[in-house]
């Protein structure tokens, strides 16, 4: 993550901004990307990140600017959310759809992932969660990411959309492969492309199955096939795009957050004990994890027209990157910005983004994280790190996640 600030920032095409050369796809030591975000935010409110001789994008590093990007979707389009790839090979629906169609898709999907729907799903999610923790208890150790964090959210998500949970391993593999390419590492593009194709075949088969067996009901596929979009059924290709993004977003993100949350709990027995004694604080602790340990390094948007934005002359087609990790710890906005405050209440973080594209699955993600914490602390109340070696995190371009998290505990404790 070497960087250099150009002596003459005007070597870029846009006025007075420092130029840097960061590759956000690289693996880092645990916490490396939040440290980098802090450094960038305090160095300047915005800069131009030039990643090849001809390509670059604007990075806005502070809470107020990130908020303004989110609040102005008519200027900052979601057509691409990866600033290093303005024209990606995938199309996420509704993630990459702008007004006026975006809200129509969201209003179809919102009820499926609403707080009320997640309340109904909670008992099954809790059973799934316990089924992954129980076999670990007597072992006294685990590799948290691969033994739990990859599998439990995948199984919980598949259950919520109505896919049998024996497909969990298959999906966990696809999602891993996709994110090898998503963050801007060219070496990962082939696996990403293969994973996308294989998932599409799976969804096509599921949709065909529902067409042949119209009696089946009650899952997301049946729901989408009956949904009304402007007086018509949803286009088949769009349904496939929807299923793909729901899976990618619904599985990988929670794995990432869980890995950081449990790393924190492993290192902070006082917080573990507080949550055991005051379980009603768990939802607040989850929100603080989403702020302090946000897995979103930044969020990209494409500029729709020439505009001056916080002193920067943006041109139509430019890409911008709102540095969510910078915003979520910006001392201009937060009290105790760089501290984990387990019962923080005024917590308007951007861990689920903001604006019309706020995370559709947020109510599921929170529910999964809360249940995981409750059930884990019931069955394994005391645990610690099982390694002295440096833990590593995936590059911020793909959203951060711990590669591994070895934990251990006393059996019978």
């Amino acid at each position: 993550m070497e960087s250099s600030v150009a002596t003459d920032p005007r070597q870029t095409d846009g006025g007075g901004c420092p130029v840097m050369h960061h590759d956000f796809s690289k693996q880092a030591n645990l916490g490396g990307y939040w440290a980098l975000a802090n450094e960038l935010r305090e160095a300047c409110p915005h800069f131009y990140n030039k990643y090849t001789a001809d390509n670059g994008y604007w990075v806005f590093t502070r809470y107020d600017t990130v908020q303004d990007i989110y609040k102005t979707p008519e200027v900052f389009s979601s057509e691409s959310i990866t600033p290093w790839e303005p024209n990606p090979i995938y199309r996420f629906v509704p993630t990459q759809i702008d007004a006026p169609d975006h809200i129509k898709y969201r209003r179809i999907l919102n009820p499926w992932f609403s707080p009320t729907a997640m309340e109904s799903a909670a008992p099954t999610i809790r059973e799934i969660c316990r089924s992954y923790i129980e076999p670990l208890v007597s072992r006294g150790h685990c590799e948290f990411v691969n033994d739990f964090a990859l599998l439990y959210p995948t199984a919980a998500f598949l259950n919520v959309i109505g896919v049998p949970t024996h497909f969990t391993q298959l999906f966990a593999g696809w999602v891993e492969d996709f994110f090898r390419g998503f963050g801007g590492d060219p070496a990962g593009l082939e696996k990403m492309s293969t994973a996308l194709s294989e998932m599409r075949v799976f969804w096509t088969e599921q949709l065909d199955d529902r067409r042949k067996n119209p009696g089946k009901d009650g899952d997301l596929f049946c729901y989408l096939m009956k949904a009304d979009f402007d007086g018509h059924p949803i286009d088949n290709d769009v349904m496939l795009d929807m299923c793909t993004v729901l899976t990618l977003a619904g599985v990988d993100t929670t794995r990432g957050e869980l890995s950081y949350m449990f790393h924190h709990l492993a290192l902070h027995p006082e917080d573990r004990h507080r949550l055991i004694n005051e379980p009603e604080l768990t939802p607040l602790a989850v929100e603080e994890v989403l702020r302090y340990y946000t897995i979103i390094f930044g969020d990209g948007r494409k500029v729709t027209r020439d505009i001056e934005f916080h002193g920067v002359q943006l041109r139509k087609g430019d890409m911008v990157y709102g540095l969510v990790s910078g915003a979520n710890r910006d001392p201009r906005h937060w009290e105790q910005a760089d501290e984990f405050v387990i019962d923080r209440k005024r917590n308007n973080h951007f861990g689920f983004a903001s604006g019309p594209h706020r995370c559709l699955g947020m109510h599921l993600a929170r529910r999964e994280m809360t249940i995981a914490t409750e059930e884990w602390l019931k069955l394994i109340p005391d645990f610690g790190l099982a390694t002295d070696t440096q833990l590593l995190e995936r590059g911020g371009g793909s959203m951060m996640a711990l590669d591994t998290l070895p934990l251990r505990w006393e059996v019978g404790s």
Binding site: P115, R346, N347, H349, S354, R358
Partner: protein, 65 residues
């Protein structure tokens, strides 16, 4: 004191999670009083202030009577 929620609400649910005694979700996850306001009882003013500070959209304002 009134608590007002404007149309910018996108349904994060932070407000009704923090203050279920004041607010509740609709079937899509938006707060039911989106685009409207409620009267805040005297003893819940501090809670209402926390609620206003927890919305990532900045969609909540408190208005003194």
């Amino acid at each position: 004191m009134k608590l007002r929620i404007d149309e910018q609400c996108t349904g994060h649910g932070r407000c009704y999670s923090l203050a279920p005694q004041l607010l509740s979700p609709d079937d899509e996850g938006y707060v039911t009083i989106r685009g409207g306001e409620i009267e805040v009882p005297e003893d819940l003013r501090e809670l209402a202030d926390e609620v206003a500070g927890t919305c990532p959209e900045g969609a909540i304002t408190l208005v003194d009577d």
